[in-house]
Amino acid sequence: MKLREICGGAFSLKFDKEIEIEKIANLFKDYKIVIKNEDSIKLSKKEKEILIFKYGEILFYNFKKDEIFEILEIIKNV
Protein backbone atom coordinates (compact mmCIF):
# COMPACT_ATOMS: atom_id res chain seq x y z
CA MET A 1 0.00 0.00 0.00
CA LYS A 2 1.20 3.50 -0.79
CA LEU A 3 -0.47 6.64 0.52
CA ARG A 4 -0.08 9.92 -1.37
CA GLU A 5 -1.47 13.34 -0.53
CA ILE A 6 -2.70 15.00 -3.71
CA CYS A 7 -3.75 18.52 -4.68
CA GLY A 8 -7.38 19.38 -3.96
CA GLY A 9 -7.69 18.11 -0.40
CA ALA A 10 -7.45 14.44 -1.35
CA PHE A 11 -5.49 11.30 -0.57
CA SER A 12 -4.74 8.35 -2.80
CA LEU A 13 -4.16 4.91 -1.31
CA LYS A 14 -2.70 2.59 -3.91
CA PHE A 15 -2.41 -1.19 -3.64
CA ASP A 16 -0.10 -3.36 -5.72
CA LYS A 17 -2.96 -5.66 -6.72
CA GLU A 18 -6.71 -5.63 -7.41
CA ILE A 19 -8.95 -5.16 -4.39
CA GLU A 20 -12.38 -6.47 -3.42
CA ILE A 21 -14.39 -3.29 -3.61
CA GLU A 22 -17.48 -4.65 -1.83
CA LYS A 23 -15.38 -5.85 1.09
CA ILE A 24 -13.67 -2.47 1.45
CA ALA A 25 -16.97 -0.59 1.07
CA ASN A 26 -18.47 -2.68 3.88
CA LEU A 27 -15.92 -1.22 6.26
CA PHE A 28 -17.63 2.15 5.91
CA LYS A 29 -21.03 1.16 7.25
CA ASP A 30 -22.27 4.65 8.00
CA TYR A 31 -21.51 5.86 4.47
CA LYS A 32 -24.07 6.02 1.69
CA ILE A 33 -23.34 4.32 -1.65
CA VAL A 34 -23.71 7.00 -4.32
CA ILE A 35 -22.25 5.16 -7.32
CA LYS A 36 -21.74 1.46 -7.85
CA ASN A 37 -20.51 -0.38 -10.93
CA GLU A 38 -18.29 -3.38 -11.59
CA ASP A 39 -15.11 -1.29 -11.47
CA SER A 40 -15.79 1.00 -8.53
CA ILE A 41 -17.94 2.04 -5.60
CA LYS A 42 -18.33 5.63 -4.46
CA LEU A 43 -19.36 6.34 -0.87
CA SER A 44 -20.24 9.57 0.85
CA LYS A 45 -21.03 10.92 4.29
CA LYS A 46 -21.63 14.68 4.50
CA GLU A 47 -18.54 16.32 2.95
CA LYS A 48 -16.47 13.13 3.04
CA GLU A 49 -16.24 11.04 -0.12
CA ILE A 50 -14.48 7.77 -0.90
CA LEU A 51 -14.05 6.20 -4.32
CA ILE A 52 -12.86 2.59 -4.31
CA PHE A 53 -11.42 1.29 -7.58
CA LYS A 54 -11.21 -2.44 -8.26
CA TYR A 55 -7.80 -2.09 -9.94
CA GLY A 56 -6.38 -1.24 -6.53
CA GLU A 57 -6.77 2.35 -5.51
CA ILE A 58 -8.92 4.32 -3.08
CA LEU A 59 -9.37 8.10 -3.28
CA PHE A 60 -10.38 9.95 -0.12
CA TYR A 61 -11.77 13.49 -0.14
CA ASN A 62 -12.03 15.88 2.79
CA PHE A 63 -10.27 13.61 5.25
CA LYS A 64 -7.63 14.67 7.75
CA LYS A 65 -4.33 12.82 7.69
CA ASP A 66 -5.02 11.29 11.13
CA GLU A 67 -8.34 9.93 9.91
CA ILE A 68 -6.63 8.36 6.91
CA PHE A 69 -4.07 6.66 9.16
CA GLU A 70 -6.89 5.23 11.27
CA ILE A 71 -8.58 3.89 8.12
CA LEU A 72 -5.26 2.43 6.96
CA GLU A 73 -4.98 0.36 10.14
CA ILE A 74 -8.45 -1.07 9.54
CA ILE A 75 -7.85 -1.78 5.83
CA LYS A 76 -4.55 -3.51 6.61
CA ASN A 77 -6.46 -6.13 8.58
CA VAL A 78 -9.00 -6.88 5.85
Binding site: G8, G9, A10, S12, N37, K42, E47, L51, L59, Y61
Partner: protein, 408 residues
Protein backbone atom coordinates in the same frame (compact mmCIF):
# COMPACT_ATOMS: atom_id res chain seq x y z
CA UNK B 1 3.59 23.35 -43.44
CA UNK B 2 2.62 21.90 -40.06
CA UNK B 3 3.23 18.14 -40.12
CA UNK B 4 2.13 16.84 -36.73
CA UNK B 5 3.18 13.24 -37.45
CA UNK B 6 6.70 14.42 -38.30
CA UNK B 7 6.74 16.51 -35.12
CA UNK B 8 5.58 13.55 -33.01
CA UNK B 9 8.51 11.46 -34.26
CA UNK B 10 10.81 13.89 -32.46
CA UNK B 11 9.30 13.06 -29.05
CA UNK B 12 10.43 9.59 -27.92
CA UNK B 13 8.10 9.52 -24.89
CA UNK B 14 5.02 9.61 -27.13
CA UNK B 15 5.76 6.00 -28.07
CA UNK B 16 5.21 4.94 -24.45
CA UNK B 17 2.27 2.93 -23.25
CA UNK B 18 0.52 3.73 -19.98
CA UNK B 19 -1.71 1.02 -18.51
CA UNK B 20 -1.27 -0.86 -21.81
CA UNK B 21 -2.76 2.06 -23.72
CA UNK B 22 -1.04 4.50 -26.05
CA UNK B 23 0.04 7.56 -24.05
CA UNK B 24 -1.99 10.68 -24.69
CA UNK B 25 -0.23 13.53 -22.98
CA UNK B 26 -2.68 16.32 -22.13
CA UNK B 27 -0.77 17.84 -19.21
CA UNK B 28 1.23 20.38 -21.16
CA UNK B 29 0.28 23.40 -19.06
CA UNK B 30 2.12 21.70 -16.20
CA UNK B 31 5.14 20.74 -18.30
CA UNK B 32 5.78 19.71 -21.88
CA UNK B 33 7.62 16.70 -23.26
CA UNK B 34 11.10 17.11 -24.74
CA UNK B 35 12.19 16.61 -28.34
CA UNK B 36 15.27 14.56 -29.29
CA UNK B 37 17.19 17.76 -30.08
CA UNK B 38 16.92 18.92 -26.46
CA UNK B 39 17.67 15.51 -24.96
CA UNK B 40 20.64 14.97 -27.27
CA UNK B 41 22.05 18.43 -26.62
CA UNK B 42 22.19 17.75 -22.88
CA UNK B 43 23.89 14.40 -23.51
CA UNK B 44 26.31 15.90 -26.02
CA UNK B 45 27.46 18.62 -23.61
CA UNK B 46 28.07 16.28 -20.69
CA UNK B 47 29.84 13.78 -22.96
CA UNK B 48 31.95 16.15 -25.04
CA UNK B 49 32.32 19.69 -23.87
CA UNK B 50 31.29 20.25 -20.30
CA UNK B 51 33.15 22.75 -18.11
CA UNK B 52 32.32 25.73 -15.96
CA UNK B 53 31.79 28.92 -17.95
CA UNK B 54 33.11 32.49 -17.91
CA UNK B 55 36.69 33.54 -17.17
CA UNK B 56 38.20 30.13 -17.88
CA UNK B 57 41.33 30.10 -20.02
CA UNK B 58 40.97 26.55 -21.25
CA UNK B 59 39.21 25.47 -24.44
CA UNK B 60 36.26 23.65 -22.90
CA UNK B 61 35.34 26.61 -20.70
CA UNK B 62 35.60 29.05 -23.56
CA UNK B 63 33.60 26.83 -25.91
CA UNK B 64 30.79 26.38 -23.43
CA UNK B 65 30.82 30.09 -22.40
CA UNK B 66 30.21 30.96 -26.05
CA UNK B 67 27.39 28.42 -26.28
CA UNK B 68 25.78 29.72 -23.09
CA UNK B 69 25.85 33.33 -24.28
CA UNK B 70 24.67 32.24 -27.70
CA UNK B 71 21.70 30.57 -25.99
CA UNK B 72 20.89 33.94 -24.44
CA UNK B 73 21.06 35.53 -27.91
CA UNK B 74 18.64 32.92 -29.26
CA UNK B 75 16.17 33.56 -26.42
CA UNK B 76 16.55 37.34 -26.84
CA UNK B 77 15.75 37.06 -30.56
CA UNK B 78 12.80 34.78 -29.76
CA UNK B 79 11.07 37.54 -27.76
CA UNK B 80 12.65 40.43 -29.70
CA UNK B 81 14.62 41.83 -26.76
CA UNK B 82 18.17 43.04 -26.39
CA UNK B 83 20.81 40.55 -25.25
CA UNK B 84 21.46 42.25 -21.90
CA UNK B 85 17.77 42.27 -21.03
CA UNK B 86 17.54 38.45 -20.79
CA UNK B 87 18.40 36.95 -17.42
CA UNK B 88 18.53 33.22 -16.87
CA UNK B 89 16.71 32.16 -13.70
CA UNK B 90 15.40 28.81 -12.46
CA UNK B 91 11.84 29.33 -13.65
CA UNK B 92 8.94 31.81 -13.85
CA UNK B 93 8.53 31.67 -10.07
CA UNK B 94 12.12 32.71 -9.44
CA UNK B 95 11.84 35.46 -12.05
CA UNK B 96 8.85 37.00 -10.27
CA UNK B 97 10.53 36.63 -6.90
CA UNK B 98 13.59 38.41 -8.28
CA UNK B 99 11.41 41.36 -9.32
CA UNK B 100 9.59 41.35 -5.97
CA UNK B 101 12.83 41.38 -3.97
CA UNK B 102 15.04 43.55 -6.16
CA UNK B 103 12.51 45.99 -7.56
CA UNK B 104 9.36 46.08 -5.44
CA UNK B 105 10.85 45.92 -1.94
CA UNK B 106 13.19 48.80 -2.82
CA UNK B 107 10.73 51.00 -4.71
CA UNK B 108 7.38 50.59 -2.96
CA UNK B 109 6.23 52.19 0.27
CA UNK B 110 3.14 51.96 2.47
CA UNK B 111 1.07 54.38 0.39
CA UNK B 112 1.56 52.35 -2.79
CA UNK B 113 -0.58 49.67 -4.38
CA UNK B 114 0.01 46.46 -6.29
CA UNK B 115 -2.64 45.13 -8.67
CA UNK B 116 -2.92 41.48 -9.64
CA UNK B 117 -5.90 39.40 -10.83
CA UNK B 118 -7.90 36.59 -9.24
CA UNK B 119 -6.75 34.20 -11.99
CA UNK B 120 -3.05 34.33 -11.07
CA UNK B 121 -0.93 31.28 -10.35
CA UNK B 122 0.41 31.23 -6.77
CA UNK B 123 3.80 32.25 -8.14
CA UNK B 124 2.26 35.59 -9.11
CA UNK B 125 0.35 36.02 -5.86
CA UNK B 126 2.64 34.99 -3.02
CA UNK B 127 5.57 37.32 -3.87
CA UNK B 128 3.10 40.25 -3.89
CA UNK B 129 1.50 39.20 -0.62
CA UNK B 130 5.04 39.17 0.80
CA UNK B 131 5.90 42.63 -0.57
CA UNK B 132 2.55 44.02 0.54
CA UNK B 133 3.06 42.77 4.11
CA UNK B 134 6.71 43.78 4.21
CA UNK B 135 6.26 47.39 3.09
CA UNK B 136 2.66 47.79 4.28
CA UNK B 137 1.26 48.62 0.84
CA UNK B 138 -2.11 47.60 -0.56
CA UNK B 139 -2.65 44.46 -2.67
CA UNK B 140 -5.64 44.77 -4.97
CA UNK B 141 -7.31 42.04 -7.05
CA UNK B 142 -9.14 42.48 -10.33
CA UNK B 143 -11.86 39.93 -11.05
CA UNK B 144 -12.99 38.31 -14.31
CA UNK B 145 -15.48 39.36 -16.95
CA UNK B 146 -18.12 37.04 -18.44
CA UNK B 147 -15.56 35.68 -20.95
CA UNK B 148 -13.33 34.52 -18.07
CA UNK B 149 -10.76 37.21 -18.89
CA UNK B 150 -9.33 39.87 -16.59
CA UNK B 151 -12.01 42.55 -16.38
CA UNK B 152 -10.34 45.56 -17.98
CA UNK B 153 -13.18 47.91 -17.04
CA UNK B 154 -12.74 46.98 -13.38
CA UNK B 155 -8.99 47.33 -13.79
CA UNK B 156 -9.47 50.89 -15.09
CA UNK B 157 -11.54 51.69 -12.00
CA UNK B 158 -9.03 50.20 -9.58
CA UNK B 159 -5.77 51.56 -10.97
CA UNK B 160 -4.72 54.95 -9.67
CA UNK B 161 -1.63 57.08 -9.19
CA UNK B 162 -0.66 55.04 -6.11
CA UNK B 163 -0.50 51.85 -8.17
CA UNK B 164 3.18 51.12 -8.66
CA UNK B 165 3.11 47.50 -9.81
CA UNK B 166 0.68 45.60 -12.04
CA UNK B 167 1.50 41.90 -12.32
CA UNK B 168 -0.78 39.75 -14.47
CA UNK B 169 -0.84 36.58 -16.46
CA UNK B 170 -1.03 36.66 -20.24
CA UNK B 171 -2.82 33.29 -20.50
CA UNK B 172 -4.53 31.66 -17.53
CA UNK B 173 -3.05 28.29 -16.54
CA UNK B 174 -6.53 27.16 -15.46
CA UNK B 175 -9.01 28.76 -17.84
CA UNK B 176 -6.93 29.19 -20.97
CA UNK B 177 -8.20 32.77 -21.24
CA UNK B 178 -6.02 35.14 -23.25
CA UNK B 179 -6.00 38.46 -21.43
CA UNK B 180 -5.99 41.87 -23.09
CA UNK B 181 -2.47 42.61 -21.95
CA UNK B 182 -1.74 45.32 -24.53
CA UNK B 183 -4.56 47.41 -23.12
CA UNK B 184 -3.62 46.65 -19.51
CA UNK B 185 0.00 47.62 -20.19
CA UNK B 186 -1.08 50.88 -21.84
CA UNK B 187 -3.40 51.83 -18.96
CA UNK B 188 -0.74 50.91 -16.40
CA UNK B 189 1.82 53.11 -18.07
CA UNK B 190 -0.63 56.00 -18.27
CA UNK B 191 -0.81 55.65 -14.49
CA UNK B 192 2.99 55.36 -14.22
CA UNK B 193 2.86 51.80 -12.89
CA UNK B 194 5.32 49.16 -14.05
CA UNK B 195 3.88 45.99 -15.59
CA UNK B 196 5.02 42.40 -15.14
CA UNK B 197 3.63 39.85 -17.59
CA UNK B 198 3.57 36.20 -16.54
CA UNK B 199 4.08 34.56 -19.92
CA UNK B 200 4.56 31.01 -18.59
CA UNK B 201 1.56 29.79 -20.60
CA UNK B 202 1.74 32.25 -23.50
CA UNK B 203 5.39 31.98 -24.55
CA UNK B 204 4.82 28.33 -25.62
CA UNK B 205 1.69 29.22 -27.58
CA UNK B 206 2.13 32.55 -29.29
CA UNK B 207 4.75 34.89 -30.70
CA UNK B 208 5.97 37.24 -27.98
CA UNK B 209 7.45 40.60 -28.92
CA UNK B 210 8.52 42.47 -25.80
CA UNK B 211 9.23 45.68 -27.71
CA UNK B 212 5.77 45.72 -29.23
CA UNK B 213 4.12 44.80 -25.93
CA UNK B 214 6.15 47.40 -24.03
CA UNK B 215 5.92 45.38 -20.78
CA UNK B 216 8.52 46.34 -18.19
CA UNK B 217 9.13 42.72 -17.23
CA UNK B 218 8.07 39.47 -18.88
CA UNK B 219 8.78 36.06 -17.41
CA UNK B 220 8.51 32.47 -18.60
CA UNK B 221 9.85 28.93 -18.10
CA UNK B 222 11.78 26.62 -20.40
CA UNK B 223 10.04 23.42 -19.31
CA UNK B 224 6.62 24.55 -20.52
CA UNK B 225 7.96 25.04 -24.05
CA UNK B 226 9.90 21.84 -24.77
CA UNK B 227 13.03 22.83 -22.83
CA UNK B 228 14.49 21.32 -19.66
CA UNK B 229 13.31 22.06 -16.12
CA UNK B 230 15.40 24.36 -13.95
CA UNK B 231 15.77 27.19 -16.43
CA UNK B 232 13.58 30.26 -16.71
CA UNK B 233 13.68 33.69 -18.24
CA UNK B 234 13.37 37.15 -16.83
CA UNK B 235 13.11 39.84 -19.46
CA UNK B 236 13.38 43.36 -18.07
CA UNK B 237 13.79 46.76 -19.64
CA UNK B 238 17.44 47.72 -19.48
CA UNK B 239 16.95 51.05 -17.67
CA UNK B 240 14.91 49.38 -14.92
CA UNK B 241 17.30 46.44 -14.54
CA UNK B 242 20.25 48.81 -14.28
CA UNK B 243 18.64 50.64 -11.37
CA UNK B 244 17.90 47.42 -9.51
CA UNK B 245 20.15 45.83 -6.89
CA UNK B 246 21.18 42.20 -7.42
CA UNK B 247 18.89 39.49 -6.08
CA UNK B 248 21.60 36.98 -5.21
CA UNK B 249 25.25 37.63 -4.39
CA UNK B 250 28.24 35.47 -5.24
CA UNK B 251 30.57 34.49 -8.02
CA UNK B 252 30.32 35.92 -11.53
CA UNK B 253 27.99 38.82 -10.72
CA UNK B 254 30.78 41.26 -9.87
CA UNK B 255 33.42 43.30 -11.66
CA UNK B 256 35.51 43.72 -8.54
CA UNK B 257 35.28 42.87 -4.86
CA UNK B 258 37.09 44.73 -2.10
CA UNK B 259 37.10 43.91 1.61
CA UNK B 260 33.97 45.91 2.37
CA UNK B 261 32.47 46.71 -1.02
CA UNK B 262 31.96 45.42 -4.54
CA UNK B 263 31.20 46.67 -8.04
CA UNK B 264 28.43 44.74 -9.74
CA UNK B 265 28.87 43.18 -13.14
CA UNK B 266 27.11 44.54 -16.21
CA UNK B 267 23.72 43.30 -17.30
CA UNK B 268 22.65 40.55 -17.53
CA UNK B 269 25.33 38.89 -15.37
CA UNK B 270 24.61 41.19 -12.39
CA UNK B 271 21.58 38.97 -11.76
CA UNK B 272 23.23 35.60 -12.32
CA UNK B 273 25.23 34.87 -9.18
CA UNK B 274 27.10 31.58 -8.91
CA UNK B 275 27.49 28.88 -11.52
CA UNK B 276 24.33 29.04 -13.58
CA UNK B 277 22.33 26.15 -15.01
CA UNK B 278 24.64 26.13 -18.03
CA UNK B 279 23.61 22.95 -19.77
CA UNK B 280 19.87 23.47 -19.44
CA UNK B 281 20.13 27.06 -20.69
CA UNK B 282 21.88 25.80 -23.83
CA UNK B 283 19.35 22.97 -24.20
CA UNK B 284 16.54 25.51 -23.82
CA UNK B 285 17.96 27.36 -26.82
CA UNK B 286 17.62 24.07 -28.74
CA UNK B 287 13.93 24.00 -27.76
CA UNK B 288 13.53 27.58 -28.98
CA UNK B 289 15.20 26.67 -32.28
CA UNK B 290 12.87 23.68 -32.58
CA UNK B 291 9.82 25.94 -32.12
CA UNK B 292 11.19 28.57 -34.48
CA UNK B 293 11.86 25.98 -37.17
CA UNK B 294 8.18 25.10 -37.09
CA UNK B 295 7.25 28.76 -36.72
CA UNK B 296 5.32 30.26 -33.81
CA UNK B 297 2.61 31.49 -36.20
CA UNK B 298 2.13 27.91 -37.48
CA UNK B 299 2.05 26.55 -33.94
CA UNK B 300 -0.53 29.12 -32.89
CA UNK B 301 -2.68 28.33 -35.91
CA UNK B 302 -2.52 24.59 -35.27
CA UNK B 303 -3.32 25.00 -31.57
CA UNK B 304 -6.27 27.17 -32.53
CA UNK B 305 -7.59 24.34 -34.73
CA UNK B 306 -7.24 21.90 -31.85
CA UNK B 307 -8.99 24.37 -29.53
CA UNK B 308 -11.93 24.69 -31.90
CA UNK B 309 -12.20 20.92 -32.31
CA UNK B 310 -11.97 20.33 -28.55
CA UNK B 311 -14.72 22.87 -27.82
CA UNK B 312 -16.96 21.43 -30.54
CA UNK B 313 -16.59 17.96 -29.08
CA UNK B 314 -17.09 19.20 -25.54
CA UNK B 315 -20.61 20.34 -26.39
CA UNK B 316 -21.54 16.64 -26.89
CA UNK B 317 -21.09 15.93 -23.18
CA UNK B 318 -23.98 15.97 -20.71
CA UNK B 319 -22.45 15.51 -17.26
CA UNK B 320 -19.31 17.58 -17.76
CA UNK B 321 -19.19 21.39 -17.47
CA UNK B 322 -16.48 23.54 -19.01
CA UNK B 323 -14.96 26.19 -16.75
CA UNK B 324 -13.85 28.85 -19.20
CA UNK B 325 -14.75 30.52 -22.45
CA UNK B 326 -16.39 28.56 -25.25
CA UNK B 327 -15.05 31.02 -27.80
CA UNK B 328 -12.08 29.31 -29.46
CA UNK B 329 -10.77 32.60 -30.83
CA UNK B 330 -10.35 33.93 -27.36
CA UNK B 331 -8.45 31.19 -25.63
CA UNK B 332 -5.53 28.80 -25.57
CA UNK B 333 -5.94 24.98 -25.54
CA UNK B 334 -6.05 24.78 -21.74
CA UNK B 335 -9.43 23.38 -20.70
CA UNK B 336 -10.72 23.08 -17.16
CA UNK B 337 -13.87 21.12 -16.50
CA UNK B 338 -15.91 19.46 -13.78
CA UNK B 339 -18.29 16.49 -13.59
CA UNK B 340 -21.73 16.48 -12.01
CA UNK B 341 -20.87 13.72 -9.53
CA UNK B 342 -17.22 12.78 -9.74
CA UNK B 343 -14.32 14.71 -8.25
CA UNK B 344 -11.48 15.98 -10.41
CA UNK B 345 -8.99 13.33 -9.24
CA UNK B 346 -11.50 10.59 -9.90
CA UNK B 347 -11.89 11.73 -13.50
CA UNK B 348 -8.12 12.09 -13.87
CA UNK B 349 -7.63 8.60 -12.50
CA UNK B 350 -10.22 7.12 -14.86
CA UNK B 351 -8.49 8.88 -17.77
CA UNK B 352 -5.08 7.63 -16.62
CA UNK B 353 -6.39 4.07 -16.77
CA UNK B 354 -6.99 4.74 -20.48
CA UNK B 355 -3.49 6.16 -21.02
CA UNK B 356 -4.51 9.82 -20.86
CA UNK B 357 -2.47 12.19 -18.69
CA UNK B 358 -4.37 15.22 -17.38
CA UNK B 359 -4.01 17.30 -14.24
CA UNK B 360 -6.61 17.58 -11.49
CA UNK B 361 -7.04 19.71 -8.39
CA UNK B 362 -6.42 23.40 -7.87
CA UNK B 363 -3.61 24.00 -10.40
CA UNK B 364 -1.70 26.26 -7.95
CA UNK B 365 -4.57 28.74 -8.10
CA UNK B 366 -6.45 28.46 -4.79
CA UNK B 367 -7.80 32.05 -4.95
CA UNK B 368 -9.23 31.43 -8.43
CA UNK B 369 -10.84 28.16 -7.27
CA UNK B 370 -12.38 30.02 -4.32
CA UNK B 371 -13.55 32.83 -6.60
CA UNK B 372 -15.21 30.29 -8.91
CA UNK B 373 -16.66 28.32 -5.97
CA UNK B 374 -14.71 25.23 -6.99
CA UNK B 375 -12.44 24.97 -3.97
CA UNK B 376 -14.69 22.93 -1.68
CA UNK B 377 -15.49 20.49 -4.48
CA UNK B 378 -11.80 19.75 -5.09
CA UNK B 379 -11.04 21.87 -8.14
CA UNK B 380 -11.14 20.96 -11.81
CA UNK B 381 -9.78 18.48 -14.31
CA UNK B 382 -7.45 20.25 -16.73
CA UNK B 383 -6.61 19.00 -20.20
CA UNK B 384 -3.91 21.13 -21.84
CA UNK B 385 -2.72 20.53 -25.39
CA UNK B 386 0.46 21.29 -27.28
CA UNK B 387 1.91 21.02 -30.73
CA UNK B 388 2.35 17.22 -30.74
CA UNK B 389 -1.29 16.52 -29.83
CA UNK B 390 -3.74 15.50 -32.53
CA UNK B 391 -7.44 15.58 -33.33
CA UNK B 392 -7.40 11.77 -33.12
CA UNK B 393 -6.17 12.00 -29.53
CA UNK B 394 -8.91 14.52 -28.72
CA UNK B 395 -11.47 12.23 -30.33
CA UNK B 396 -10.30 9.26 -28.19
CA UNK B 397 -10.32 11.52 -25.12
CA UNK B 398 -13.99 12.36 -25.70
CA UNK B 399 -14.83 8.69 -26.31
CA UNK B 400 -13.45 7.98 -22.84
CA UNK B 401 -15.30 10.91 -21.27
CA UNK B 402 -18.52 9.59 -22.80
CA UNK B 403 -17.74 6.14 -21.40
CA UNK B 404 -17.28 7.76 -17.96
CA UNK B 405 -20.62 9.54 -18.42
CA UNK B 406 -22.29 6.22 -19.09
CA UNK B 407 -20.67 4.44 -16.14
CA UNK B 408 -21.00 7.20 -13.55
Amino acid sequence: MFDVEKIREEFPVLKRKINNKKLIYFDNAASTQKPKAVIEKIKEIYENCYANIHRGIHTLSQELSDEYENARKIVANFVNSNFEEIIFTRNTTESINLIAYSYALKNLNKNDEIIISVMEHHSNILPWQFVSKKVGCKLTYVSLNKDYKINVEEFKEKINRNTKVVSITHISNVLGSINDIEEIIKISHENEAIVIIDAAQSAPHTKIDVKKLDADFLVFSSHKMLGPTGIGILYGKKDILEEMEPFLFGGDMIKDVDFYSAIWNDLPWKFEAGTPNIVDAIAFAEAVKFLENIGMENIEKYLNELTKYFLDRFSELRKFKLVGSRNYKNRAPIFSFIHDYLKSHEIAKLLDLEGIAVRSGYHCAHPLMKYLNLFESGGTVRASLYLYNTKEEISYFFDILKKIENNY
